[in-house]
């Protein structure tokens, strides 16, 4: 039999079953009534349970902080910035609202002279459940709304009626202590609501509070014309070079390790250089050169060290000679490419080699340069940065002065020293250009010292001014700038830390629904935050709901069991009463699956009709029960869907299986003769 024939036949069975059921309406509706009773019972149980739980939930939600979860970052890395806040919100269930704790003491004043001092302002956002509970939530994140407590309102002479009518203007003043004195900034806002609270507090939109925070942290707020408080970033270096007679021995008390440092020995094998002039009385074969870096070097762009070079002696417990060290870079000075090498060390060393105090590169001003080969005698030269920004460097000494300043010629010293440390740099690639994006470690490893050395020597031989000696912190600063950890602020003429978005160490999270509190609590605890919330109440509610669920489930199971028994009996009766018809159809050639469909379709119709009536009655009950008995009876669409599915499963599949089983064993002749279904 072809598939088409089969499907036609199946459709014919369905049509015959439908007509047979529909044309015997009395039986159909009688059976549907039984189903109505069963479905209605289950629906009422579900509705009443949900009503009770919702009543309990409503009692909890009477508190404005019911869905509030207070969190605290237990260490620095957990502080939230803009991106981590977004990531946190996305990791939390539902549409949780996060409000970082941005608190600022401010002065509020009005044009009539009334004033409220030391008001604690906090950030809020639209939909802030706490303020919404008091009908005081702000409308827009960028609005100029201010919500104040009744105490503050009284000081400012603002009444509720005034707020409702015209939203009075208030000036918020925030103060910052700068080096040059106190700076005050003002923002005009309008009072949108008054909270009945006895504390001196107010709520501003988070965007405005962020601006106050930026200002307080020394940042400029251009949109409001508030100035910044910039200062040079602290000097820091990628590494230090030490020259010592006694090799380091790292035992249990590795003080370098305790400070988060590591030392890499640089093998030297250069004869003929008077290293004693560097390391005191050391002979070349006694000399040990170490490069000291952070243990995080190469892994983190923040692995710069900022302690004084003299501390190396304390750390290594030696009387070592130490230099600040950053890889040389290429720089464009006065339109010519120079190799810029940083030379800074301890004062004792510098005094030894640079008689002239002016030639000593230690000091507060890093923008100084020695150009040993330059023909020009200008006192200033211009360094062009990759973004085109010019920096002026002050020339300290002319080439003619260099010889008299040092017992070793500077270039020769650099030459020798770099030859000495050449063993460190096995990969002789191109030297990184100024402001390149190469990380420090890679720069170290790949810098082309040999090339640079050759280049330098060639340049020297050709009397070409290619070498620029600057303070080591300048080279380090350029490197940090290329890594994005420093920026050159032309306004203040310094390398400064880039403006960072605000970070928050504590705040509030509002769960969208009460049940989410537990999940959010667990998630925050997992992330390492300290959390306080109304977990106990929610757990109590869930326990209550769980008990009711269990009760409802038991009752439902009883109802379903009774229902199934009833339905089976009903369908047995239907099958018995219809067996003559079934027998006739079987004799005509109807297959057992036709008999199955004959009962199955009828079961479907009964279940759907019963469910429809029950749903209508349940909806009516949901309105009538609170009015008649004071009990809430609440439904969700899913309840009706679930009951429908249950009804279909119970009535159709369960019962139809029996029908199918009976149909396959039905003797048509016995059936027609009124025999029993075997």
């Amino acid at each position: 039999m072809s598939l088409k024939h089969k499907s036609k036949l199946t459709w014919y069975y369905v049509v015959v079953a439908f007509l047979d059921s529909w044309r015997s309406k009395t039986t159909l509706f009688t059976n549907a009534t039984i189903f109505t009773g069963l479905c209605l019972l289950i629906l009422l149980l579900i509705g009443l349970k949900r009503g009770l739980v919702e009543q309990f939930r409503a009692d909890i939600l009477k508190s404005p902080t019911a869905t509030e979860i207070n969190w605290f970052a237990t260490h620095k890395d957990l502080a939230l910035n803009e991106s981590s806040e977004q990531a946190l919100v996305e990791s939390l269930p539902g549409d949780a609202i996060i409000i970082p704790d941005i608190t600022r003491i401010a002065q509020l004043s009005r044009t009539d002279g009334s004033m409220a001092q030391d008001v604690t302002l906090q950030a809020t956002v639209p939909g802030d459940p706490f303020l919404a509970f008091h009908d005081a939530a702000i409308e827009s994140p960028d609005s100029d709304s201010l919500v104040i407590s009744s105490v503050v309102a009284a000081e400012l002479g603002i009444a509720n009626s005034e707020v409702a009518n015209q939203r009075p203007q208030v000036t918020v003043t925030v103060t910052r202590e700068d080096d040059d004195g106190e700076k005050r900034v003002h923002a005009n806002v309008r009072v949108s609501a008054i909270l009945e609270r006895k504390v001196r507090t107010g709520y501003l939109p988070r965007s405005l509070m962020d601006q106050f925070e930026d200002f307080s942290q020394g940042e400029a707020v251009p949109v409001r014309g508030w100035p910044s408080r910039k200062s040079a970033g602290k000097k820091s270096f990628p590494s230090y070079l030490t020259f010592t007679k006694r090799p380091y021995k790292f035992g249990d008390t590795n003080r370098l390790h305790l400070r988060g440092l590591k030392a890499t020995k640089i093998e030297s094998n250069v004869d003929g250089v008077d290293w004693r002039t560097i390391g005191g009385l050391l002979k070349p074969h006694d000399l040990n050169v170490y490069c000291i870096t952070s243990e995080m070097a190469g892994e983190s762009t923040s692995a710069y060290l900022d302690f004084d070079v003299s501390e190396i002696e304390d750390i290594t417990e030696t009387d070592d000679v130490a230099l600040y060290w950053a890889d040389p870079i290429k720089a464009n000075l006065d339109g010519q490419t120079h190799t810029m090498v940083g030379v800074s060390g301890n004062s004792r060393w510098l005094r030894q080699y640079f008689k002239s105090p002016a030639a000593r590169l230690n000091g507060v001003d890093p923008f100084r340069v020695i150009l040993p080969h330059a023909s020009s005698h200008q006192t200033l030269c211009e360094l062009e940065m990759s973004d085109g920004t010019p920096i002026s460097l002050k020339r300290l000494v002319t080439p003619a002065e260099i010889k008299s300043l040092s017992r070793l010629r500077v270039v020769q010293w650099v030459d020798d020293m770099l030859t000495k440390v050449d063993g460190l740099f096995s990969n002789m690639g191109e030297m990184p250009a100024l402001l390149s994006e190469l990380p420090v470690e890679r720069a170290w490893r790949s810098s082309g010292f040999r090339h640079w050395l050759n280049d330098t020597q060639n340049s020297f031989n050709q009397s070409q001014p290619t070498l620029a000696i600057v303070p080591a912190e300048l080279v380090s600063a350029f490197r940090q700038q290329s890594e994005g950890t420093l920026v050159y602020d032309s306004a203040v003429g310094q390398f400064t830390r880039p403006t960072q978005s605000n970070v928050y160490f504590e705040g509030r999270i509002y769960a969208a629904v009460l049940e989410d509190i537990l999940t959010i609590d667990e998630e925050l605890e997992r992330l390492g935050y300290a959390v306080s919330c109304s977990r106990t109440s929610v757990e109590e509610m869930q326990g209550y709901a769980g008990t009711l669920d269990l009760l409802v489930w038991i009752l439902q199971l009883v109802a379903i069991a009774l229902g199934v028994v009833t339905v089976v009996v009903v369908f047995l009766e239907i099958t018995r009463r219809r067996q003559t018809s079934i027998g006739i159809m079987r004799i005509m050639g109807m297959r057992p699956q036709g008999v199955f469909l004959f009962v199955f379709v009828r079961a479907l119709m009964i279940a759907i009709l019963g469910w429809t009536f029950a749903s209508l009655l349940a909806v009516i009950a949901s309105f009538a029960m609170p009015w008649m008995f004071g009990a809430a009876c609440l439904y969700q669409p899913a309840d009706f869907v679930n009951v429908l599915i249950g009804a279909l499963v119970c009535s159709s599949f369960g019962v139809s299986f029996h029908a199918w089983h009976a149909a396959t064993r039905l003797d048509p002749v016995d059936a027609i003769a009124g025999g029993k279904v075997q």
Partner: protein, 307 residues
């Protein structure tokens, strides 16, 4: 195998059942039913007429290899010959015994064969009460894969033949809303609508008065005469059997276990073919062991054939 002009042929049909008071055995060594003839089966109630008809109509499935078992029907061989719709393409022989041996697929083939070749008119018509006349008559066609449109055309054709023009309005009535005569004719229509090779009629006129019964059978006889259809009619009405049948078989009364079965001829002329004789005996010495009857040694008596 049966001869091509035989509609149904079976050998050694036996049926045994037991109730509280008696044991009853039906045994028919050989039966050949010629194609295109009208066979009537007469006999008192309970003698096995309907059982015979149900076996012949493939409604009840006989057993082929088991010994005679309680409440089962056994048969040694059973062949149904189906003349193809176009008379030139010959006759298909269906070995029901082989089909039964083929298991589930064979049973399905038997069901298909029954649905295609057999037309049933049950004792009281037995139309489906919740379907209209048209829907009732169309059922055999739809179950045989006819489209709704073709089925309706054929139903109109058959009903037009069996019902008068005045009765056209009943087509869309439910089965319970028509008279007894109409009901019986509609039952005939349903039995004939798919042009079966064999029509089985069980007490067709029991609910009709004699004039209406004859009118209904006249219509049926006219219809089957055009279709070369074999009719097997079970009835108590000897008069009707005489008037419409080519062959009549009288079966014994169960109260007379040793009574002779005498084949009767009621019509003289060339229309007679082979007649059959049923024997129903309860031989002495039968033993019941567990659920089966032992083979009956006394049932070796050959049936008498009437030439």
């Amino acid at each position: 195998m049966s001869q091509p002009d035989t509609a149904i042929k079976l050998t050694n049909l036996r049926h045994c059942f037991q109730d509280r008071t008696r044991r009853f055995v039906l045994h028919m060594p050989d039966l050949s039913i010629p194609a295109g003839e009208w066979l009537s089966v007469l006999g008192p109630s309970g003698c096995g007429k309907s059982t015979l008809q149900n076996v012949l109509g493939l409604v009840r499935e006989p057993h082929f290899s088991d010994p005679l078992a309680r409440k089962t029907i056994g048969v040694d061989s059973f062949v149904v010959n189906e003349r193809k719709a176009d008379s030139n393409s010959g006759i298909a022989q269906h070995d029901v015994a082989a089909m039964m041996a083929a298991g589930k697929a064979g049973k399905r083939a038997i069901a298909n064969l029954a649905s295609r070749c057999m037309g049933y008119c049950l004792q009281t018509g037995e139309l489906l009460p919740t379907l209209t006349i048209k829907e009732n008559v169309a059922m055999p066609l739809r179950l045989n894969g006819w489209s709704a449109r073709d089925a309706e055309r054929r139903v109109d054709e058959v009903l037009g033949f069996l019902l008068s023009a005045k009765e056209y309005t009943i087509h869309n009535k439910l089965a319970l809303e028509i008279s007894g005569g109409q009901y019986q004719r509609v039952a005939f229509a349903r039995a004939l609508v798919h042009s079966p090779k064999v029509v089985l009629i069980d007490e067709p006129t029991s609910s009709l008065d004699p004039p209406n019964a004859r009118r209904a059978l006249d219509l049926l006889a006219n219809e089957v005469a055009h279709q070369d259809t074999t009719v097997i009619m079970v009835t108590h009405n000897e008069s009707l059997a005489r008037d419409y049948s080519d062959f009549i078989v009288r079966m014994d009364s169960p109260e007379e276990p040793w009574g002779d079965a005498i084949p009767l001829r009621f019509r003289e002329g060339d229309g007679w073919g082979t007649a059959v004789r049923f024997e129903r005996k309860q031989p002495a010495g039968w033993q019941e062991t567990d659920s089966t009857w032992q083979p009956v040694s006394t049932l070796t008596e050959e049936p008498t054939y009437v030439a």
